[in-house]
């Protein structure tokens, strides 16, 4: 029994064990060995991904139904590990150049990754909260990692205070749900609530209030409007590699959690949460498109862009159907690839050893670094949703699912918002190709970053040929949420 449980938990156990071993290694060999800690952490992530893929314990729940592993958790965890692994390998040279090469940095990334895997696999509101806290706590620390600079500490503090507030809201909601339903387990919640609805009894008011609070707490973690205020400041203030991490892995994990919580324990309350999600998706898409128009800092721009993308992903969830969840999963994968590529390009924006972040610094990139300009151009076109690039297909899936569910006006507004959004993505391309050339960037960016850029650019251009396997994987994952 315990053996079977431990086998299901193996990827997490492996990650936790590696964290402790690497921590010891780092403590005893000092900051001079940071590079080898980063490489070992990367190897740990790869090994964890293999374990997740193989699923040694099979599908099912473990540890008194606190933890679950199925095709959905596998899909989401693989995405998270891809995001975390790419950021890890790109951080190797970045932290040395940025003068923050301390061995704790990769270990904090690993802690955050462990937390994300735990929240994806949560099968109980309690284990959900534990995973979420582990992830958030690690992220607060890495945001403030450059403690000597005002902006980084401000980002860390702001994220911490608002994150603690959102955790409070989430916990308040969880306690209300527990108080009115009498359980925190996902499966039992699903049964009890379905039972209440089946008997046609009036819903307890407290349960609905609790649901709203839980949704608000989760919306904060995915930075959806109206809980997005922290995103631009934190993205701008944190070190760029940390921003890249924020925009990829934690976002995927939080979205997966959002999908799971809404469509498993609260499946019988779909009519109650659907209106919340429609509003959140709508507001995120519109704000993401319009607020980004006037940005001059590329990290801030990416923050608003990610708010907009979360809006599009939530359109799929708002549909409240299995196809909708499938579309969210496909969107998550596509969002991940585009963002890793874009942030890898942003990490290359350095002049004389210093990071530059203004959009105008990209001027004339097509002449000094044509390959990078081409890659960034591909990512921007993809984010804007120009067919046949990958970004178009992500939007296509979510909008198709929403149309199926009868949310026509939401789709119309979404398409309009993406037209507005296309303006600022294409503006970057115009600056790169048609503006007066600025000074060229430093070229010693390292092979890993170039490799990540190349790989994601090829994926964005060519992967639409292989959309069917991705769609099948998403279909299998979504069926785990709805079939069970």
């Amino acid at each position: 029994m315990l053996y079977q449980d431990a086998l299901r938990l193996l990827p997490e156990l492996f990650l936790a064990g590696s964290i402790i071993v690497l921590l010891m290694y780092g403590v005893f060999s000092g900051d001079s060995k940071t590079r080898s800690v980063v490489i070992l952490s990367f190897a740990t992530i790869v090994a964890a991904a293999v374990l997740v893929w193989r699923m040694p314990g099979g599908e099912g729940v473990a540890f008194a139904e606190q933890f679950q592993s199925d095709t959905f958790t596998r899909y989401a965890k693989i995405l998270v590990l891809i995001g975390a692994g790419s950021c890890m390998i790109m951080s190797m040279r970045y932290i040395e150049r940025a003068n923050m090469a301390r061995f704790e940095f990769p270990i904090l990334f690993l802690f955050a990754t462990l937390g994300m895997m735990m929240m994806i696999s949560a099968n109980d509101l309690m284990s959900l909260y534990m995973g979420l806290e582990l992830q958030s706590l690690a992220l607060y620390v890495v945001a403030a990692f450059r403690r000597d600079t005002l902006r980084s500490t401000e980002a860390g503090l702001k994220y911490f205070v608002l994150g603690a507030l959102s955790s409070g809201m989430l916990l308040y909601g969880i306690s209300l749900v527990y108080g009115f339903v009498g359980t925190t387990g996902f499966d039992q919640l699903n049964q009890v609530i379905a039972g209440l609805r089946g008997e046609g009894q009036p819903l307890p008011v407290g349960l609905v209030i609790g649901l709203v609070f839980v949704a608000a707490g989760l919306a904060f973690k995915v930075s959806a409007v109206p809980f997005h205020m922290w995103t631009p400041d934190v993205y701008e203030g944190a070190p760029t590699i940390v921003t890249a991490f924020f925009a990829t892995a934690p976002k995927i994990a939080a979205l997966a959690l959002f999908v799971r919580v809404m469509s498993e324990p609260f499946a019988a309350l779909t009519d109650q949460w659907q209106q919340i999600l429609v509003f959140v998706a709508l507001a995120s898409m519109i704000l993401g498109a319009f607020a980004a128009l006037s940005q001059s800092n590329i990290k801030r721009l990416m923050a608003y862009s990610s708010i907009g993308h979360v809006g599009y992903a939530l359109v799929g969830l708002a549909a409240g159907t299995q196809t909708g969840v499938e579309a969210v999963l496909v969107y998550m994968a596509i969002y991940l690839i585009m963002n890793i590529g874009t942030f890898a390009c942003i990490l290359c924006m350095r002049r004389e050893g210093r990071m530059v972040e203004a959009i105008s610094d990209l001027a004339g990139l097509s002449k000094s670094q044509p390959m990078m300009a081409l890659a960034l151009c591909i990512f921007m076109f993809s984010m804007a949703g120009i067919p046949p690039l990958l970004g178009f297909w992500g939007k296509w899936y979510v909008f198709a699912a929403a149309l199926d569910a009868g949310l026509t006006w939401l789709v119309i507004i979404g398409v309009l918002a993406s037209v507005v959004g296309a303006f600022y993505y294409i503006r970057i391309i115009k600056i790169m190709y048609f503006d007066e050339a600025a000074e060229p960037f430093d070229k010693d960016t390292g092979a890993e970053t170039g490799f990540v850029i190349g790989l994601s650019a090829i994926a964005v251009v060519g992967l639409f040929v292989f959309l069917a396997p991705l769609e099948n994987a998403a279909k299998l994952a979504a069926s785990a949420v709805f079939g069970g």
Partner: protein, 204 residues
């Protein structure tokens, strides 16, 4: 019965009175001390409810750790409490309105408190009868067995908190002289005393 009633009104009365004093005391240190008094009396209320574990946790965690932390903050940071108190009267109506809304919401919530039959069957861990096992024992039965996953997860969070605190505050300062006890013990008279031959009539 009458004894319990007296105890309840004593604890409840002192809790409310000291909570009021937390807000109105002029000296911030007095505020913290009144807060500690409020915690103690709340713990007494928990004991009356038969929840002695929560009562002890309240004393240990809130009085022992949180309140002491407050005292540290009050004493170590130079906070201008005069300035913070400005606008108290003008903001008071807003506070009263928010408090009133909160209380109405709470009353609505408690008023609508119904636990449906399926919910009673689904209660995650039934509470054992209080006259057979104590709270602490009942918690101990499930905490390290059924909820081992959560317990270990909490352990990881605490480890992370420690690593994070060290990362954000630890600095290595150059040029600090440290005591090395082994060196001190290993030191013999040969290292510190030198014998000089002094030729007569010439001095050192």
């Amino acid at each position: 019965m009458i004894l319990q009633a007296i105890a309840f009104y004593l604890f409840a009365g002192v809790t409310v009175a000291s909570a009021v004093m937390v807000v109105f005391a002029r000296n911030p240190v007095h505020s913290v001390l009144f807060l500690i008094l409020a915690f103690f009396n709340a713990a007494g209320l928990f004991v009356l409810l038969g929840a002695e574990f929560i009562a002890m946790i309240l004393v240990i965690v809130y009085v022992g750790a949180v309140a002491v932390l407050f005292l540290f903050v009050v004493m170590m940071l130079n906070i201008d409490f005069k300035a913070m108190r400005e606008g108290f009267v003008s903001n008071a109506p807003i506070g009263v309105i928010i408090g009133f809304i909160l209380i109405v919401e709470l009353l609505l919530l408690v008023g609508g408190w119904t636990i449906q039959a399926p919910a009673i069957g689904a209660i995650a861990t039934p509470i054992p009868p209080i006259n057979e096992v104590t709270n602490t024992e009942a918690l101990g039965h499930v905490l390290y067995t059924k909820y081992i996953y959560l317990f270990q997860a909490a352990g990881m969070i605490l480890l992370l908190a420690m690593v994070g605190a060290i990362v954000l505050t630890h600095r290595t300062r150059p040029g600090i002289k440290r005591q090395v006890i082994a060196d001190q013990i290993a030191k013999g008279h040969m290292d510190t005393v030198s014998v000089q031959k002094v030729p007569s009539r010439s001095g050192v």
